[in-house]
Subunit: 359 residues, 4 copies
């Protein structure tokens, strides 16, 4: 209700502010008997970690995960799994000058209006540091999906501002994605993206773009009718991420330019398996998976924190000119890739577990 | 859990198949003391009704709502409101030839795989007739928002296939929208849209497009951090609609082409009120409303049911050529407008009620 | 949230007032493929029906159930099942004199305070007629438990005021229970109970008592740790019934008089099955079923509606003397038996389905 | 769903095993602006702490609470509050001999059957140490109720085995309760209880009893119709506690011995306030508070862990004789008092916040 829980069977409740003592989550509903170690989770956190490359923020945070409960002798016990990452000594005083300023396109003003109080240090709860807990939980979800159902989730940076890439979602692997620091497997595009992000960052500005994600080997039948369609669940998951402004599944907005006769995905049978000739549906029909790859795109706006001078106001409604100091990502997309995968995994594991009841 | 309930405080649970006896819903959580009559609901159902114009399906259904509970002497009592619409005598036998056929891009195959059984008559539960219950419940939500908080919701058809329109979302009214049968207030565009839909329908084909929606007079502070951001909730609501393939809020996908310095919405104060010079945020910052108009776009694919011959398979995995007979919408968008408004109202009323606790 | 939904996987949302047009429910989450006909449900409604014997209210209501959705060609489809019973022509004017009176130990005063409005006709939503929807949904739950897991639920009247019975919960059958109109299978006690209820009714007074229930053939492992223990779930289910003031499982309050060495249930193995020598635990240990019969007791207060004159107040806070006219149950227990069974079934089916995921 | 979350608006999700690194919880939904310090919580934890007196277990655990999030500059921010208590160096090896033994009337067997794996060290998640997290969260709930609504919650030990007490629930204070180590404010009874517990403990045996609780100054109108009655919610809360076998509200089981004319609570008006002459309803009518004190009783069975030799089985289904070593409570009731209060506070704060929406 108060917005910090995701999922209904594999329920993740997150906590923590960027300049508090720690961030983390409780997973309630993880099946018992899953082999789980800190390294399973750490691997994903490392993909999200600040300072990992020249095009991400240069803040150094090691982000070491601790498993506090729910695992006994290397296996999950079916009881709540609490995962926690201690925050490094944060330079909280860096934020003193923001105490009474509402940064443009941040959550400062809206949190102040909603709660009547806000933790101004780095955005507090509204900081993207909150996504760390999602990635930790997502690592567990991914493991269940991979081990129990061979479901694979791969995301990558498809576009940075207007630099687009060409990638085959049917064959792309995480290794391909990890081969460039911008996490775009089209090497030519990746090189341009890296140059552009570097250049924009030097100018004190920022850029956004699009992350694409594919979920392969999903069995038919996942998802629920009406309000819990796979598309609705995935859309909600992605649109809950900081900086996300759009979501489309399958043919998406471009699909609206086609006619029905062009857009419909014809069924055929190959080796006894029902398939579709095209996949404009994005693997989802009537909200339920049909066995084809589920693929979707997520639009991330340019980072709100920039070093350029901006017009804004103080909490006492006075005009203020603001120029961010500090170390920020000129483009969030490379670090967003594991986050998108995590949210996809959290969405799918819930539907996967639910289908065990009714399937 | 099984997908037929929307909302957490103003909870709507829907029921009914297109060729069953009735469709409807229970609203649990409607505040007591609201004046409510059947005509409040009927008005919205009439906007959704088949056969309302030359460009919608010519099926005749009167769709008369019955209020079965929760209203006493013209006022809501705080107890569950059951709304029901009896289905007209349906020509169920029209569907006999579809008993063993999976229509392309419909839910036939996925429902069969999920449940092991399906009601083939007109898609059963997966029929868009299910949205009737959403519109009925949405009418109640709209009334609460309008009367208690002066919140206005207006949607319209922005684009049909590639025919685009120009509309000012700050001033558009429902009267403007209702002035054309295609529900596009740009009269020049509307005329082209109507011609195009008519022409495409005659060819036995279908088209999709984009519905845009604006929510005005929303107070700052609605929405919840992290997973229940307004954007996530609205996105989930829209992506749960039949035929929807994409959702974007504020600048959306186009916003990814801008730099941060162009995209950020500068704050200023006018007559003591905090405003933003641009509204790329779409009225939502950090997931929470900032008082500016909330605006978003919803992509609807072309209708799956077409009269043209299509390749598909039978339930025994044999190839089949299919040609739909019957009376179908060549374009769902005109009838989708009240449905989008209903889902927006259901989303916002939940967040509005929640804010009463914490605001 | 607003209290009209029971269950998390097999979710039942009820609606209706005693003098509205109808009462009923939507079941969301019923597995597909279950054979289900109106007669499966009618049988249970008939056990709850007013006017069924000389010791229940003499109101005549036929209470015919209609299945509005979710069943196709005699089987459930996995979509919502809407069940409805139309209310007979009610003598609403019988209640005109109660419009401004708060009946003692009824919900009149509390509903007026909570909602600022109330339907005074027969208690409106607070009427025990609401339990009809529970019995209808419970019939479906019972069918699933019986057919899929051979789980049996049998309740009976154990005590009426101070008239107690002796019954073996390990062997008692529903046929035994139905053999007397008071639903107590101890014939000697039953005869006394019937006489007592008849006599008390003639005096314009009422009595309460205890319903006992046993759930047999439950597999070990149902229930969830911590907050969703079987005991907590059953307790919540029973305490949500009108007139219920107490619940105890296994040894209950009497168990507090024993020492640990007397109260502990020793394990032993018989024919390869783990059993306990005693069953003070009531089949539940650590909140989870251990395979022994689950048994519990439910305390029903004497009916609040009596023909004797009582002191009370009006809504304008004036003293009033009240004497109920009309036809009321002098003792609700005989009709409470199928209701207790229904709530037990609704509780257990939810835990049974949940265990399919994790078991 | 998986049982570790309590509440719907003020949601508490707990984690931790007795011999893991820590136990704690996340509170999601605490209103912003509440003054909150660790000492507010520590005070309640100290009342629950082992080793606090001669009649509780002599294990020494300091149970120091850490607030990890949701509090900024001494006030709650409306974001999740994570509370954690590190476990002291536990003597896990004390439990090696229990690795393959199912202790009678413990959760050992049922957890093994449910999850296929169990943490045998001190019961793991099923240990009563889990209630520590409830007490921590309950301290926050109590503070909200006291400060915002002057609602008072006082519990005490009413009976130990057959030693009963006489206490006036209308005037009893926490100071009275804390005046004896057994937490019974009737000094004569308390003395007998202490002697009895001491004597039973020396014999290696255990006893149970009854905790009674009163909630005063509750405004009328709290609670929801049908399934979320105050009685159902409180019952569920109490029956979710380890060792609880029964719950009764108001007149409870004893009330079933009265006639309706004796049991009904007549309304009258005093100084403009509506009151009842008796309070058999326990402050709840139709499931909703009427403004009278809410009072209820909770039955705790004798502690399952005893030093006497008991018959049981191993996980390989062999007969075993078991004699507990270690330091255990011969009677849990003195330490159960703050736990009952905590669960009452968690229940009431949820209903209190909900009423802000609809009241």
């Amino acid at each position: 209700m108060a917005g910090n829980t995701f999922g209904t069977l594999f329920k993740v409740t997150t906590f923590g502010e960027t300049h508090g003592t720690s961030v983390g989550c409780i997973i309630d509903g993880c099946p018992a008997g899953l082999l789980l170690s800190a390294s399973d989770i750490q691997r994903e956190l490392d993909r999200r970690r600040p300072g990992q490359s020249t095009i991400t923020t240069q803040r150094k945070e090691s982000d070491i995960v601790e498993i506090h409960s729910g695992v006994f002798e290397g296996k999950t016990t079916g009881t709540p799994i609490m995962l926690m990452v201690k925050n490094a000594d944060a330079r909280s005083h860096d934020y003193d000058h923001l105490k009474d300023v509402y940064r443009p396109s941040h959550a400062d003003f809206t949190y102040a209006k909603k709660f009547g109080i806000r933790d101004h240090r780095g955005g507090g709860r509204a900081s993207a540091r909150e996504t760390l807990a999602r990635v930790a939980a997502g690592a567990v979800a991914k493991k269940i999906l991979a081990e129990q159902a061979s479901i694979e989730i791969v995301a990558y940076v498809e576009r940075v501002q207007d630099i687009d890439s060409v990638v085959d979602i049917n064959t792309i692997t995480q290794t391909d994605v990890e081969s460039t620091i911008v996490r775009c497997p089209d090497i030519v595009a990746a090189t341009k993206m890296i140059e552009h992000i570097t250049s924009v960052g030097k100018q004190g500005d920022s850029v956004g773009g699009i992350v694409r994600c594919v979920i392969r080997n999903t069995p038919p039948g996942l998802g629920e009718p009406v309000f819990d369609k796979v598309s609705a669940r995935l859309g909600s998951a992605m649109l809950s991420l900081p900086a996300v402004k759009g979501f489309e599944i399958g043919s998406g907005f471009a699909g609206t330019l086609k006619r029905g006769s062009e857009h419909n995905d014809s069924f055929f049978v190959e080796d006894g398996t029902v398939k579709t000739r095209t996949n404009n549906s994005g693997g989802i029909q009537g909200g339920i998976s049909n066995g084809e790859p589920i693929h979707f795109r997520v639009a991330f706006k340019p980072t709100s924190t920039i070093a350029k001078e901006q017009e804004t106001i103080s909490s006492s409604k006075k005009s203020v000119l603001l120029r961010a100091s500090g170390r920020h990502d000129p483009c969030v997309l490379p670090r967003a890739v594991p986050i998108v995968e995590a949210m996809a995994a959290l969405t799918m594991v819930d539907l996967y577990l639910l289908q065990k009841i009714y399937g």
